[in-house]
């Protein structure tokens, strides 16, 4: 692991000042479950680390507001997962939390940093002798003609097909969440849907954040579809595993038909993947299994499967279908 210097600010302003003075190679460190992990693997090698875990002002979250839910970027995943109001009002958000990682890691990881977790692509993490454009731009992509079970079917480019591995961002993108950031240039808000980039020809650039920009909070506008939601996650084992396919869905029913539909996919795309195609199938229709199935298929209409991940076209469509059936049941509950 490369040596680094370490700074521990106690306010967001101090953190931003430290970053401004840090220059290239300076990184914010929160729970460490991604950054420190990748430093151990030699994938990341920051020269300066700014430890933001003691910015207590960013650790609070409030799920009771009348207009939006507000999550300080440093709220712990475990605390958010355990929030009773969230479980009732937005089960998809709660499930996306407790179905991720293990309780140990959820105690460490923070909801802001979690958005930025990096791909689990074995070629990216493993390094030489396999090429990876994300790890070393321009070196090629060994995954494309290699073992592609973990590759993305949606949003991939010739340069990279690495899957975005997270759960929480998938649920958030379904609910039109917004991320507030702080940088030396001041505050700004970014729709979550615009936070992550598709790889294109620069897979090493994963987000639209500037290098010196800090996520300070996540806001989720209240939705009538919150209670009729679920985060459905299919894995290789029952727990403590990344998604093979996942679906965050939310529906509001009115007069027997879908009045509001939100569908997002995980485990199959290069970024948290909202599917307007699936939502359009649902809107105005009664939420029958057949309609749900059509929605699932619509979400994968543009999928480009490889060899080992081709089964995810059907698996992913079924995941959406099943998630919609769960969501319907919840939406119908008085």
């Amino acid at each position: 692991m490369q040596s680094f210097t370490y700074i521990r600010p106690s306010t967001p302003a101090e953190a931003i000042a430290a970053m401004a003075g840090g220059g290239p190679g300076t990184r914010f460190l929160a729970g460490g479950t991604t950054l420190y992990d990748l430093m151990k693997l030699g994938v990341e090698g920051p020269l300066r680390v700014i430890d933001i875990t003691r910015l207590d002002a960013l650790a609070r979250f409030d799920t009771s507001g009348p207009h939006e839910l507000v999550f300080g970027a440093l709220a712990r995943m475990s605390d958010v997962a355990a929030d009773r109001r969230l479980k009732e009002d937005y089960p998809a958000l709660s499930e996306a939390m407790w179905k991720a990682a293990s309780q140990q890691l959820r105690n460490m990881a923070r909801v802001g940093g979690n958005l930025l977790q990096r791909t689990r692509c074995a070629y990216f993490r493993g390094g030489a002798p396999f090429a990876c454009n994300k790890r070393e731009p321009g070196s090629g992509c060994a995954a494309r003609d290699g073992m592609d079970r973990g590759n993305a079917l949606l949003g991939a480019s010739d340069a990279c097909a690495a899957v975005y591995p997270g759960d929480w961002a998938v649920a958030l993108v379904a609910f039109d969440a917004v991320v507030d950031t702080l940088s030396p240039r001041g505050e700004r808000s970014i729709p979550l849907a615009e936070l992550h980039r598709e790889p294109g020809s620069t897979p090493e650039v994963e987000t639209t954040l500037a290098p010196d920009e800090l996520i300070v909070r996540i806001r989720v506008p209240r939705s009538g579809a919150g209670r009729g939601s679920t985060y459905h996650k299919i894995r290789d084992r029952e727990s403590y595993a990344f998604a093979l396919t996942s679906a965050a869905v939310a529906v509001r029913l009115s007069a027997g038909v879908v009045a509001e539909a939100r569908v997002a996919l995980g485990g199959v795309a290069t970024r948290p993947w909202r599917s307007p195609e699936a939502e359009n199938v649902l809107l105005g229709q009664p939420l029958t299994e057949d309609v749900a199935q059509s929605a699932g298929q619509a979400a994968f209409a543009a999928a480009s499967p490889g060899v080992h991940n081709a089964f995810k076209v059907e698996l992913g469509a079924q995941t959406i279908t099943d998630a919609l059936m769960i969501a319907r049941q919840r939406a119908e509950q008085p």
């Binding site: 692991m1 040596s3 680094f4 210097t5 370490y6 700074i7 521990r8 600010p9 106690s10 306010t11 101090e14 000042a17 430290a18 460190l29 460490g32 479950t33 420190y36 992990d37 430093m39 151990k40 693997l41 680390v49 430890d51 875990t53 475990s78 355990a82 407790w98 990682a101 293990s102 309780q103 140990q104 890691l105 105690n107 460490m108 029952e238 727990s239 403590y240």
Partner: protein
Amino acid sequence: MQDKTSRPSPLRGAQSKQETAGEPNTGGGLLAAHLLTRRQFTAGSIAVASGLSALGSACTGCDTPARSADTSVRLHVNGTRAEVDIDLRSSLLDVLREQLQLTGAKKGCDHGQCGACTVHLDGRRVASCLTPAVQADGREITTIEGLSPEGGPLHPMQQAFIDQDALQCGYCTPGQIMAAVACVREGNAGSAEQIREYMSGNLCRCGAYAGILAAIQQAAPEIGGT
């Protein structure tokens, strides 16, 4: 803003300074290695002469493994305060194991994927292998060694693991027990299903999961929290 790197941090060697008595029960510093007896790795078995106690002349007088120290942290480990000079890159697990000789927490994967390194940080269970030691500065740390007093009665969870034969090789056991205590305190031990979900971050290859579940169910009422 506190810039740790700007603080003078004279290198004091790898040894920790124990501020109070009550050294953890594994005992023994780096330089005590030549006194190592088999008792130390087979507590529970008898100690016999041979092997490890004999050291070649070629070895004596050599330096201890080099370890760069670039900052100093105050760790509150098992009720004891220790100021430790650390390499900023060190994980909490490595500092506990190599500098404080608290080897109860284990390194099964070093990447937060197995749970064997679980300790409590400010009362929460964490993967110590993915926790930079510097982040534990000023925090309360409890390891398996601090769960019950040395020579005193076992913690109810430790006793339950024995009663329910909730282990075989024992390598994952300290992590399982630390996770289990936290699981109960968090209120996540309400049902068998909930325990299995909230213990799924601790892998046991011997397959003692049934015993572990039974042990948690046995100990939970004594610990409280659920």
